[in-house]
């Protein structure tokens, strides 16, 4: 296998696959859309061509079957039906597996014979023996197919003939009435190597690879004969196919009119400005040449290397600024140079950061399929709305969030969305709405997954958590509404007593939380019983650089990510209270947060308010007591993988003064305080000394 070709082929193939899936789902609701049909066809054709170069014979064969089916649909020989959509989607899954095998350096195994047979039967216009989706009506088989053949015309010239033929496909020939060889032979007989559009075949003999697309075939015929081609019949066009009933299966309803199976609405089409950041141009697609000229596919590892080097540059910049700042005598030149270096490094950092940005479209592309499959399985009606596909986020987030997004949607469908009957009884529309949105917020991107389902009953969640041993009854009694709802993110928690394909194993939501944590993000859940649930995930725009706030705890310096900080406060002891066994701080009339005494946690010695300097750092979930806040800096996180999996640090960084500084994990610290607040031996209680 040629690894260089493989390196080029795989990413492009995956993009094509994603697009084909997206288009296939669009086709389900808009079966007559010729543009979408052509797009799916082109995707299979291009996949097949590339696979031919790699000599991946089974992939070539598989895509050939699908291409054949799409060709018939594109030419309106057949019309789109529900089983066809199912078969195409399943076929795409098989291609995905095959691509994975290629990525592992193996030649793909043959696709499943049963599905292959179904696709071939569908392409031949016959009804598969076992319909793929019993909920959808099976398509009616056409009576005949078209057959193209070459023979002498009446005046002795060689000619191509289009004939009606009974639909009795054989496994070998039934899917393609004119093979590549036949076509080549026809052209050779007519013109030899002078045929318009002639290209010498590749050295490798890919019999199954069809190097000439149907467009090219049409073009050849047009150039040869125009509308005088032997066998040319204007009525072959679908608009006037009265004499050629093979063009479609009459009475076969389009999927859009099928109401028996709940199907999701297609994703909202991207706005005109929401073009993704120039993926590779699809071969043979007119108008993409210009794009191909200005885009360059770069190995992600190289990009990561550049990013790491920029990180080092940022650290050096910090050290330079710090060194110049500590010079006893002010030197205008040095200050100016430091400022210019600062600006230039910022520019480089911002440019390289943008290189890693990818549109959320990549993340959302799989979701319509997930919703479609799960809603069918659960017999629920759901409309999926996708917003903000053009919002860009770090590649690491896009890559890591694919699984969690699927979990969230499946959970929403399984637990949140009610059955159509239950919705009607509750005075809601039969069809539920799931909304996935990406929103750009300053240096963060928020991804929301919301539904208008039944919401989460906090008491039910507490009871389930106690039943499953996730928390004790005593802990459950002390939880606030919000804390109770957040139990769904605990490992091992599930409200389902029975394990199903969709959910019930108690894994998934904790994975979501863990993934968000690893991506330095923030997870939030808002629910209203009977009205719905919204899960929000906030991620930093870039993973490369982390702005931190340095703080001093007695003699030691720590860092806290700026993204988790709300404000810095002067702690007043009159605002410190004890509530439900916890020490809390009253920030204002409405906000009361738990106090995290870093002295008690990290030094095992509480900070003494009034006896030593203490400042407060208010985060989203608690107030951190520290000795002094020093200042902020852009830092680069260095992993500290020698510590236990569960610790209070996100990593380490090197400060401008060249010291290694631990970066605190605010959420982990607050969670620890909340979990241990009932413990009478806890030391997280600030001492109030004499003022």
């Amino acid at each position: 296998m040629d690894m260089e070709i493989l390196q080029d082929y795989l990413p492009e193939a995956r993009e094509l696959l994603e697009k084909a899936q997206d288009d296939t789902l669009r086709l389900e609701s808009d079966p007559g859309n010729d543009d979408v049909l052509a797009s799916v066809f082109r995707a299979f054709h291009t996949l097949k061509g590339g696979a031919g170069f790699l000599e991946a014979e089974n992939l070539v064969n598989w895509t050939h079957h699908l291409e054949d089916l799409l060709d018939k649909l594109r030419s309106h020989t057949l019309t789109v039906t529900g089983p066809m959509i199912d078969a195409i989607l399943r076929g795409l899954d098989v291609i995905d597996d095959m691509l994975q095998q290629l990525a592992n350096g193996e030649y793909p195994a043959p696709g499943p014979e049963e599905l292959s047979g179904i696709i071939r039967q569908l392409a031949a216009g016959t009804t598969p023996v076992e319909p793929l989706q019993p909920t959808l009506p099976a398509c009616t088989a056409p009576e005949a197919t078209l057959k193209v053949s070459q023979r002498a015309t009446a005046d002795g010239q060689a000619g191509l003939f289009l004939e009606r033929a009974d639909a009795t496909p054989s496994p070998d020939t039934g899917s393609d009435e004119i093979s590549a060889e036949e076509f080549e032979a026809t052209l050779d007989a007519l013109y030899g190597t002078q045929a318009p559009g002639y290209a010498p075949p590749p050295e490798s003999q890919c019999a199954a690879s069809d190097e000439i697309s149907p467009e090219e075939f049409e073009q050849v015929l047009d150039q040869l004969y125009g509308d005088k081609a032997p066998g040319f019949d204007t009525e072959i066009s679908p608009k006037g196919a009265e004499d050629l009933p093979v063009t479609a299966a009459p009475g076969n309803p389009p999927v859009a009119s099928v109401q028996t199976a709940p199907a999701p609405s297609p994703a909202a089409p991207p706005s005109p400005t929401s073009q993704p950041a120039a993926p590779a141009a699809v071969r043979g697609s007119p108008g993409t040449q210009e794009t191909a000229d200005v885009t360059l596919r770069v190995d992600a590892a190289r990009l990561d290397a550049v990013m790491n080097q920029v990180g080092e540059l940022v650290l050096l910049r910090n050290r330079l600024s710090s060194a110049i700042g500590s010079l006893g005598e002010e030197n205008e030149d040095m200050l100016r140079i430091a400022r210019e270096v600062d600006l230039t490094v910022n520019d480089i950092q911002s440019t390289v950061m943008r290189l890693r940005m990818q549109p959320c479209k990549r993340l959302f592309q799989q979701l319509p399929r997930v919703v479609r499959d799960a809603s069918r399985q659960l017999s629920k009606e759901v409309a999926l709305e996708i917003v903000g596909e053009d919002v860009e986020i770090d590649k690491a987030v896009v890559d890591a969030l694919s699984g969690p997004m699927t979990h969230l949607l499946r959970n929403s469908l399984d637990h949140g969305v009610e059955s159509p009957e239950a919705r009607q009884a509750a005075g809601k529309s039969r069809s539920a709405k799931i909304r996935v949105a990406a929103i750009h917020l300053g240096d963060k991107v928020r991804i929301d997954v919301s539904d208008d389902g039944r919401g989460i009953d906090s008491q039910f969640v507490i009871q389930k958590a106690i039943d499953k041993g996730v928390i004790s009854a005593e802990q459950g009694a002390r939880l606030s509404e919000q804390e109770a709802v957040e139990l769904i993110f605990r490992p091992g928690f599930s409200t389902n007593d029975q394990v199903t394909d969709i959910s019930g194993r108690g894994v998934g939501m904790d994975v979501v939380k863990e993934t968000v944590r690893k991506l330095r993000g923030r997870l939030d859940i808002q629910t209203r019983p009977g009205l719905g649930t919204r899960i929000s995930m906030e991620f930093p725009l870039t993973m490369a650089v982390l702005p931190v706030l340095y703080l001093r705890l007695r003699r030691e310096i720590y860092a806290l990510p700026v993204s988790s900080i709300e404000s810095l406060l002067d702690i007043q002891k009159t605002r410190i209270h004890r509530m439900s066994g916890r020490t809390v701080y009253r920030v204002d009339g409405t906000e009361v947060v738990p106090i995290v005494d870093l002295g008690a946690l990290l030094h095992e010695r509480s900070l003494r308010l009034g006896s030593e300097p203490i400042e407060g750092v208010l985060t989203e979930r608690g107030l951190f007591m520290v000795s002094e806040v020093l200042g902020n800096e852009d830092s680069v996180v260095k992993p500290i993988d020698f510590l236990a999996e569960q610790n209070w640090y996100q990593g380490a960084t090197i400060s401008g003064k060249g010291n290694v500084v631990l970066i605190l994990d605010a959420n982990a610290l607050v969670n620890h305080v909340l979990d241990h607040s009932s413990d009478p031996t806890t030391k997280n209680t600030p001492c109030i000394g004499a003022a």
């Binding site: 725009l541 702005p547 706030l549 810095l568 002067d570 806040v629 200042g631």
Partner: protein, 206 residues
Amino acid sequence: MNIQHIMGVVDASFAARQSIEKALREIDRRALNAMVLVKRHGNALAGYGVVAQAFRERAATLKDSAAHLQESIAPLIEAYMRILQHQRFSDSFEQMLAHNADHEKHCPGLRSTQKKWQIIIVEEEAEAKAVLERLLEMVQLLQEGIEEQEYVVTNGRIEAALAESTGAPLMRVSREMGEAVRTVALAIRSYRHQLESLEHESSTHL
């Protein structure tokens, strides 16, 4: 000039120092708050970031100046205490001379010593005046720093107005910055009044 007056200045100096330190810490915290806010909003608030950075840098300079101010207080108090002490010596000699005169006694050595003390006191008063003037110059510098800080706050308000569409509470942050600066300004003004009254009393030799 009496001991009560000097103690009044010492108290005022202590109160001013505490007030200035607290207000400067508050300014620093406000500046850091602004910088955190800016960082959390990314490039959208880059303009305000420059203002916040300038605000913090000036706050650090003010803190430095305030520390120097404190360094000059001690010599001033010391000088005035010495003047008071020597004034008392001089007064004692004066009383002795008066007592001798009452008994028609003449003691030229005593008068000579008393005159020496008077000269010393005049010299010390000149020295104290110089220290006081230096201190007033420092206060003047501090006040100029505060004015610059007020200018930065005004710039911050303009930037906040320009960045209003981002939804960041910059106007509130700017207002709080302004309040912190005003607190320092008031503390310094009050301190200056104290020093000026001392200067006035010193010059009139009350």
